[in-house]
């Protein structure tokens, strides 16, 4: 009898230990709640890609509809803070916000709810917030921009080869949003991709000073086409540029979504973000009770960036093979986008750079390449390289 009693006690203790261990390990899958704060709704491409991530994550982890709470059309203002604390009060264990300007408001809420994880896309302040529950994430979109540049460069070179244009006419136009590191990093990657395939290429950049303004983007593309640009690239969120390219007969490399519907004969491909890997990873971390990276930035290696469908009617011969080859090379780390042997700044090859804005004193260049997005998830490459002019 005594033996039986002690056995029961031991069993009880073991059981209680496992229960304690389980609660320390994470949140039960049927208890977790996930909150999202979106700048737009499904009608806006950037938010739509995050919405897809929320849905895919829900499927992958088997969560029910009422475990996902989404707040749409939340501006970059006090409204974001209100939305965040509201989600926290509804019992969310992890909260995502998708717009750059949400960051301060999201992290202000994070300070009040230390047991909840707050993840912010495209931001820069998680590491310096002094909090342990703030996280930034971004995709290594520069990898996809580089390869989309390769697609454009092959097209440009094929036009030189068949005599449509001369080598010194190979000028690229780029519709940029703001003169900001994210855009500079992106257009430099794009240009390096173009020039890898078309060595005589030069590029000019026109800023619209807006993330999404179809009319301005169209106008910018038109002005660059009038200025002699033979290929258009973009870092702005609408299809504006493609609507200028189709009638002018100028190939376009888009962003976010395929431009084939708006430029059926001229759209080559678009670089695009895939937020599914991160959102799934972060929520799974909460379920498992493991730490989420303070800064997360992944590219082809995790499937976090991609190219949209290549337009077979418009691309140069051999493009598909080249794209597949380079995607593999970037994913396995044999190809680095910001290889310092491929560009110069002020006529000089860069061997050292430790005055990067926000990371003064850190050496960004080693092993022959600029280490983009390694110190933080958001892009830091802000050097203006030779061959590109900003207007």
């Amino acid at each position: 009898m005594k033996k039986l009693l002690s056995l029961i006690m031991v069993v009880c203790m073991v059981l209680s230990l496992t229960v304690v261990a389980a609660s320390a390990e994470g949140v039960a899958a049927d208890k977790i709640k996930v909150g999202f704060i979106f700048i737009g709704d499904e009608n806006e491409g950037y938010t739509y890609s995050h919405l897809v991530a929320a849905q895919e994550m829900q499927k992958a982890l088997g969560l029910s509809d009422d475990q996902i709470i989404i707040r749409y059309n939340i501006p970059e203002s006090e409204a974001c803070y209100e939305a965040a604390v509201d989600l926290a009060e509804q019992g969310c264990n992890i909260i995502f916000a998708n717009s750059f300007g949400h960051e301060d408001y999201l992290f202000k809420a994070a300070a009040e709810y230390p047991e909840i994880q707050f993840c912010h896309a495209t931001g820069t302040k998680a590491a310096s917030s002094g909090l342990t529950n703030t996280h930034n994430y971004f995709t290594a979109i520069y990898e996809a921009r580089y390869i989309s540049g390769v697609v454009g460069g092959m097209k440009l070179q094929s036009m030189i080869d068949d005599g449509t244009i001369t080598a010194d006419q190979a000028k690229v136009g780029y519709v940029g949003a703001y003169p900001y590191a994210e855009v500079v990093s992106g257009y430099t990657a794009f240009f390096l991709g173009v020039r890898a395939m078309c060595p005589s290429a030069t590029m000019e950049v026109v800023y619209t000073n807006s993330w999404a303004d179809a009319a301005l983007e169209k106008e910018a593309a038109e002005s660059m086409i009038a200025d002699g640009c033979k290929l258009i690239g973009q870092h702005a969120d609408t299809t504006g540029a493609s609507t200028a390219c189709e009638p002018a007969g100028v190939p376009i490399v888009g962003y976010n979504i395929s431009m084939i519907p708006t430029a059926p004969t001229m759209a080559l491909t678009s670089s695009t973000n895939n937020w599914v890997p991160y959102v799934t990873y972060a929520v799974k971390s909460v379920l498992d009770g493991t730490a989420i990276d303070v800064d997360w930035c992944k590219g082809f290696s995790e499937g976090a960036v991609a190219l949209t469908d290549l337009n077979k009617d418009a691309i140069a011969a051999g493009t598909e093979e080249k794209v597949a080859e380079l995607e593999k090379a970037i994913a396995d780390g044999t190809l680095h986008v910001f290889d310092t042997s491929t560009f110069t700044v002020g006529g000089e090859t860069m061997t050292t750079f430790d005055t990067c804005y926000g990371f003064e004193g850190y050496e960004m260049i080693s092993d022959g390449y600029f280490h983009e997005s390694e110190l933080r998830s958001a892009p830091t490459f802000e050097l203006r390289i030779d061959g590109i002019t900003e207007k």
Partner: protein, 367 residues
């Protein structure tokens, strides 16, 4: 035969005498009920959802938790404050549709003090912020008033255009204040020290804003109703010639009133920056300057009626966030509902001012 019998129209519209408050309230209530029924039909036909659930969602979004209730009240207070700002100008029949810009410059001046005065003693900061906001707003109101008084320029266009000037000024200021550099956004000002953020009262950070607006409400009501200056505003509004005949200096009244109007908008700008957002951007006013015109007009410049209208508009807007999340109905859905309700409520005005007389009634009277 045809020449002599003029066919009497089926229905006559006849102007009513003044209606009792109770009766007009009843008509408004009927309008709202009708609106809710139409909305229910629209919701059901377009989405197949149960309208009652959607109404419950709206209610839940605006007043579902104590925090949501406070935010709804705070946002109503700020909208109301802007409504109060345009009230004296509208009473004077000076069509100030520049509240948006006046709020914006008030917000910008407040933000400037917050940014440059981050290390000042807090009494200096808290004194200078509202002063800066009020002065900037007043200045923005004075400009069109002076032009109107001196050269009789069109104030509607002038105040409207100044909104865009204010937006450009803010865009320009952001270049100097943006954080991080190049991001084109200022972010939270003094995020760590919270210098210049309106303090909480009894652990409630929404209360002070609401309190300030209620004080303004009482003061403005007294000013408009019981002071000589308030009376002058009404007289100028009724007829400038009468005012002149009565010895009122019309130019002075116009300038003084618009300065007041702008100053109150400046207070709203101050509250938006110091009390709510703690940042500055071109969307700080977020169209409130225009929504406030709806508030003032629907409330017939009566502060208590305006309070109801402002609360209703904010209620619907905050409810929309909930129904978007709960039923996947985006912003436009609640705008449609708000539109239907406003249409019905405005339609009430017709039945309050006029009555319909049908033909057979007339015949019966003749016989």
């Amino acid at each position: 035969m045809s020449a002599t019998t003029v066919k009497e129209p089926w229905v006559h519209v006849v102007k009513r005498d003044r209606m009792t408050v109770g009766k007009s309230a009843l008509i408004h209530l009927a309008g709202v009920v009708l609106a809710l029924i139409i909305c229910a039909l629209v919701i059901f036909m377009l989405t197949g959802l149960n309208p009652i659930d959607v109404y419950a969602g709206i209610w839940d979004g605006a007043l579902g938790t104590s925090r949501r209730t406070w935010v709804t009240l705070r946002d109503s207070a700020i909208l109301l404050c802007i409504g109060f700002a345009i009230t004296p100008a509208f009473r004077m029949r000076f069509w100030n549709i520049g509240a948006e810009g006046q709020v914006l410059v008030g917000a910008m001046a407040t933000a400037a003090v917050m940014i440059y005065g981050a290390n000042w003693p807090s009494w200096a900061l808290y004194t200078l912020m509202p002063i800066a906001g009020v002065l900037a707003g007043a200045l923005w109101g004075l400009i069109p008033a002076v032009f109107k008084a001196k050269w009789n320029t069109n104030e509607t266009l002038f105040t409207l255009m100044l909104n865009y000037v204010a937006m450009q000024a803010v865009t320009y200021a952001i270049i100097f204040w943006e954080n991080p550099k190049g991001s084109n956004s200022v972010g939270l000002i003094n995020m760590q020290s919270e210098a210049g953020w309106l303090p909480s009262i009894a652990d409630n950070k929404y209360l002070l804003t609401i309190f300030v607006v209620l004080v303004i409400m009482v003061l403005l009501y007294g000013y408009m109703k019981y002071t000589k200056q308030g009376y002058e505003i009404s007289v100028v509004g009724e007829s400038e010639n009468t005012a002149r005949y009565a010895g009122i200096n019309v130019k002075r009244v116009i300038i003084r009133t618009m300065a007041l109007s702008g100053a109150l908008a400046g207070v709203a700008g101050f509250l938006l920056v110091s009390g709510a957002g703690h940042t500055i951007s071109t969307s700080v006013a977020d169209g409130r300057g225009f929504t406030a015109i709806v508030v003032a007009w629907l409330g017939k410049l009566n502060p208590f009626a305006m309070l109801v209208v402002a609360f209703f508009l904010v209620f619907m807007q905050r409810g929309s966030i909930q129904i978007a999340s709960q039923f996947g109905l985006n912003d436009s859905a609640s705008e449609i509902l708000t539109g239907i309700i406003l249409f019905c409520v405005l339609g009430c005005e017709f039945f309050i001012n006029y009555r319909l007389e049908f033909r057979h009634e007339e015949e019966a009277v003749k016989a």
